[in-house]
Symmetry: C2
Subunit: 205 residues, 2 copies
Amino acid sequence: MSTRIFRTADIGEMEQRFRANLINSLTGFKSVNLIGTADAEGQTNLAVFSQVVHLGANPPLVGIIFRPDTVARHTLANITETGYFTLNHICAEFYERAHQTSAKYPAHVSEFEACGLTPEFSEQHPAPYVRESQVKMGAKLAQRIDLEINGTILLIGELIEINVPEKYLGADGYLDIEGAGTVTSSALDGYHTTQLLSRLPYARP
Amino acid sequence: MSTRIFRTADIGEMEQRFRANLINSLTGFKSVNLIGTADAEGQTNLAVFSQVVHLGANPPLVGIIFRPDTVARHTLANITETGYFTLNHICAEFYERAHQTSAKYPAHVSEFEACGLTPEFSEQHPAPYVRESQVKMGAKLAQRIDLEINGTILLIGELIEINVPEKYLGADGYLDIEGAGTVTSSALDGYHTTQLLSRLPYARP
C-alpha cells in the first residue's frame, strides 16, 4: 500500500488546519466525555473533552489535558473555583448535542440549556451531571500541573462518586461501555460507535 | 434503568481486581498503541500502551502515561537511554499479537520475535517500527514529568516522523484511522473496531 511520510520539516510547513487534523488523528481513538462544572454562584457549564486518561485505580485518579487557547476556559475556571467536576460518557443518541457544547457560548449561557441536555445534581458535590449520560463520575480536583513545554495543563482529579448502569456492570468490575452506548472520537470531529472484537486473557510468556 | 452508585468509601473497599477493572472502564475508549524501542545495543522491545494523549499539534507533541509497576519498565529504560520511541496503531488483524506483548518476557527476549511482529527501521532514529501497523510515528523524548501523587510518569515526545497510508489521508489532513483498521480498547483487556457515526462541523452558538 502506498504510504506518505512526513518528517519534522514537512510538519513545520503544513497548512495549520491540515496539521491540526493530521496530528489529532495520530493519537488514535479517544476517550470523549462531557465535563460538567458550576461556578461559585451555581451557574452551570458543560464542555466536550477528548483528552481524559486513567492515572490509577487506588486511589481512583483521572487526568484531563486542557489547552489554554480553547473553550475549556470556563471549565478550568470553575474547577479552580469550586474544586469539583463531573465526567459523563457521551452516548450515540446525544453525540450531536454533546459536540455542540464546543461552541463558544458567552459565560452567562449554560451549555446544558443551549444544547438540550439536562443537569442533575448529587449531594456529594456541586458539579452537575448530565442526566442523558449512562456512565458518570464526580471528581474532586487533586492537582494541577502546568506543562511548560507548550502551555497545556494537566488536571488530576480523584473520583469520589461513580454512577453506572447495573445491567452493564460485570461481576469482575468490567463495565460494558459499548453496551451502555458510549462513543469514541477521532481527530477533532469524528464520532464512532464500537464493536467488540474480544476481551483477551491476561498475557503470559 | 437501574443504576449502581459507588462513593469514596465503597471504592476503597472494593476487591482489588474489581476496582482495577471498573476504574479502568470509566475513562472510556482508549487510544491503544504499540510502543517500539531499542536499548543502546540495539536489542528491540515492544509493548502495548493504552494511555497515549495528544498534547499539541505545533510542535507535534504526544504524552504517554507510565505506571512504574508494569511491564513498561523496559520501554521506559530504553527511551531514557536512547531518547527515541515509536508509536504504532494496532489493527484488528494483529490485535491478539499486540496484546501478547504485555506478557512479562525477560529483558533479553524481543517481543517482536516472541509475538510474531516485524521490526522495521528508519534512518531518522534507532527505535523500531511495527511493519504490520498501518499508522506509525517516530518520536523524540522531550520531557519526563514524575507525578508525585501516585508515582506515575508522564513522558512527552515530539513526533519527528509520520508514516500513514496515502489512501486514508484526507485533503484536510484528517486521517481515516477506522479505514486503516485501527482498533480502540476498553478497561484492561477489551479490543473494539469502530463504526463512524459522522464527522461533525465546527460548532457555533
